[in-house]
Subunit: 203 residues, 2 copies
Amino acid sequence: MKLKDEEKHDRLLAAAVTVLAKGGMANFSTTKVARLAGIPQSNLYIYFQNKQALLEAVYRMTVHQQSVAVVAALKEQEPLTTQIVASVRALYQFAIAQPETVTAIQTLLDDIKLKHKWGLKRDDLANQRIQQLLQDGVDQHVLRATDQNFLRYFLARPVFHYADGVRVGLYSDTPEALADLTAMIMGAVLQPDVYRAWYLERD
Amino acid sequence: MKLKDEEKHDRLLAAAVTVLAKGGMANFSTTKVARLAGIPQSNLYIYFQNKQALLEAVYRMTVHQQSVAVVAALKEQEPLTTQIVASVRALYQFAIAQPETVTAIQTLLDDIKLKHKWGLKRDDLANQRIQQLLQDGVDQHVLRATDQNFLRYFLARPVFHYADGVRVGLYSDTPEALADLTAMIMGAVLQPDVYRAWYLERD
């Protein structure tokens, strides 16, 4: 077996993100990824056993990048509602800055079967931090006591939709539009009484 | 020009829905659609000028089918909040019954640029009825006064996500899960005071 090369490993992952973002799941192949990365396809298998392993690596990497971007905006001493608003804003900035990464994440999440199979990422500390935030939110009766997948869905997907819409001119990139979107997300995820208090006090 | 044949026209549209649902936008081609429909590709162009025209026809047909399913569940004499809840339930049943149609709609909506260009469907009376419901909701201060695209997004996409999740076993198909989802959607789209009143009085 050839020696692994971290730079090539990362180049393959980056190429995989691009192939996935441009062509979707049905078009994804290790042939295309290797070609885009400029690495012989046979060498790709040194790094990733097969297409599924490559997709799973893309999933872990992109979710980690997204989690890191969100966690950087969280301040533990702040109220949970403030942290959730900060996470929406951070996710929006991440989606605007990294459109291919976010498209790849959405493509992978849409293939719910895969996500279901892959499950949680125990070694992803940033992602763990977000899971803990959600769990704390439920335990403290700030977030609704429902399936955590529902909470994660409402906290992320509308933000990606808004960023996509800004990119093509469907939405305007204004503080007012982001504030509207944030209020809708908070209405969806917060306990009704907590939402009301937050809504009346927000600036 | 050969005589058009309504049955062939519909067969091509149905094949286009399947090709779109299975392979996504990047894989979509008139070659694949003609092959699946069992109609020579040259004949496809009798019905649809080009790929874009075929995609637009798919968009109009699937959105119309979705609109008809929703409108059938609306009772004009009922309060707007009751009608909105009924629309969520109807959309869920539609998504469970017509998974390919709903996947095709989502694929087309994700290509926001296309949707933006196609704009509204003035001759689709069922869709008009839903637009009117949303406009009435905003005018009567029941729905939030925000971009109607935000309202439509929150009213439909989480329902499709839930139906997809039920199909692969991520979510359970229970009245409780659908009630949770409905409450989250209502929290997102209703004016905060209207939401509070609805939430306290719901059965």
